[in-house]
Amino acid sequence: MYAYDKYDQAMVDARVEEFRDQARRRLEGTLSEEQFKPLRLMNGLYLQLHAYMLRVAIPYGTLNSRQMIALADIADKYDRGYGHFTTRQNIQYNWIKLEDAADILADLSRVEMHAIQTSGNCIRNISSDHFAGAAHDELVDPRPYAELLRQWSSFHPEFTYLPRKFKICVIASEKDRAAMRLHDIGIQIVRNDNGEIGARFYVGGGMGRTPMIAPMIRSFVALDQLVTYAEACLRVYNRYGRRDNKYKARIKILVHELGAEEYTRQVEEEFAHLLDVGVEPPRAELERIKEFFADPAFEDGPKTLDRSDPDFALWVDRNTHRHKHDSYVSAVISLKPVGGIPGDASGDQMRVMAQLAEQYSFDEMRITHTQNVVLPHVRIADLHALWTALDQAGLGAPNLDTIEDMIACPGLDYCSLANARSIPLAQRISERFGASGKTAKLGELKLKISGCINACGHHHAGHIGILGVDRKGVENYQLSLGGSEAEDVSLAKITGPGFTENGVIEAVETVTDVYLQRREGEERFLDTYRRIGMEPFKEALYD
């Protein structure tokens, strides 16, 4: 994985000291909250329901065990013994003290991490496929391109004050495991008819108040023009994005209002201009970055498993993913134990994961946007030992991509923007379906829960989505069906009037019953919904 050079390190260290001084001035009273707020937000420090919250960037979700241990130490030393992995492949701490914040940033810097650009109207952490560099179906490892874009977008002077926050995703397979088309810019690395590798650009996707699927604006950009094309996309947005209305300020609104064709025309014009200016980093820089992502030293070994232990076999079937080397798999550690809080991990659990990554996965981990942790390169020969260790640590839940593996945002338990709680719903649904054995019958079913319209819980993209709303001071929940953030991307549709907390749990039970009654063959919930439409579900819910 990428290692900081002296420039990266110097930039991050300088930022820590700058923030230390800003925090000191705030505590002494020479900076007002109004003056300090944008400064702390630039360093990922929010003020949430119970305390300050610090969001730490995990670039494209990749980290090593030394970094994971540092995250665990921060949880134990400065927080309350845990952290929350987010749908942006980052981690958040919920109980931070302002007086500790600069020390935490310094601890992060020592392991080449930071919280810069995890808030504010700038380009946020670049996201990617959590199986990048390991997946059997990828064209190339997308992370060097994500890293190039990370370097380009870090402290980019022109894009520090965009109309609104900006999220970029890079993948390199037909299968979309990163919700690529629901980003402001989604980039897919593709091969063209001439056999050349380049980047396909989708622009103007997003969730939130006005969910949109990004249209493709260019099918092929040469890789030595990748940054230039991204810059052109941003420039047009920065120039014409709506700064007058926060709710219309995301690029998706601009692309929608101009029309994809006109937006593309303007981008192409800007692109032609930028090609003359020459903003692309030298090719040597990309080659330098690529070296950091070279494959580890894979070795041939056993390709089959002893599946005689049914619990182990179930975990293998559910929680592992085919690797590009046939003696390896990628193993996913579910952070969704039945009744647990999706995405939360204690300091001790983080240390266990770090130690197992070091032992079994070339010292690498990935955070998924579904709030789990991947050990990308595990020898098939080591899988049983890994599973045994995970199981002993309470990290062996065999439920990936099932209804128990839901996304849930922090909701009203932690988030000051929330209308309703998300986590208790997640807990009750997983307990109910886990206890009844229905999880297995349902197979792949993606449930996603957001506590407000900002949609951090990706409810628009859930096969079943739940959105918390405030109904005269009382929590209420809208149910939606039919979303997908994969390559068959679609936006979920609301079923009808909302439900109480108990009511929405019953409603989930009801729609899954309809699916079980109506499914044909191997259909997933989503397939059945797409075949039979909303009506049968509505009838069961409201008649």
Binding site: E33, L47, R421, P424
Partner: protein, 98 residues
């Protein structure tokens, strides 16, 4: 009743105006009547509180209860981590929030 809340500048902890000082416990909150703005301006200038605001609440047999669920969650702590709330030993505390 009208009560004042905000966060402690240094720790970020949720605090409530008790008439003389800031308390961690919502039950200590006092009715500020029409003096809320003035108290908030003074206390914020003294850095005794960060981002203060005034809310509606009622005094019940169980103490002071903010009208909105968000402030009740703030008053107690996350409902999904009773061990981290101000009343970890009280199983009824969550009912009070909801």
């Amino acid at each position: 009743m009208k009560i004042l809340t905000g966060n402690d500048l240094k720790s970020g902890a949720v605090i409530w105006w008790d008439g003389e000082n800031w308390s961690l416990h919502v039950d200590d909150a006092t009715d500020v009547g029409t003096h809320g703005e003035e108290i908030m301006a003074r206390e914020e200038a003294l850095r005794q509180v960060n981002v203060p605001y005034m809310i509606d609440a009622e005094r019940t047999d169980d103490g002071v209860r903010p009208s909105h669920i968000k402030d009740r969650v703030r008053a107690l702590g996350p409902t999904v981590r009773p061990d981290l709330t101000l009343k970890p030993q009280d199983p009824q505390a969550l009912d009070w929030v909801i």
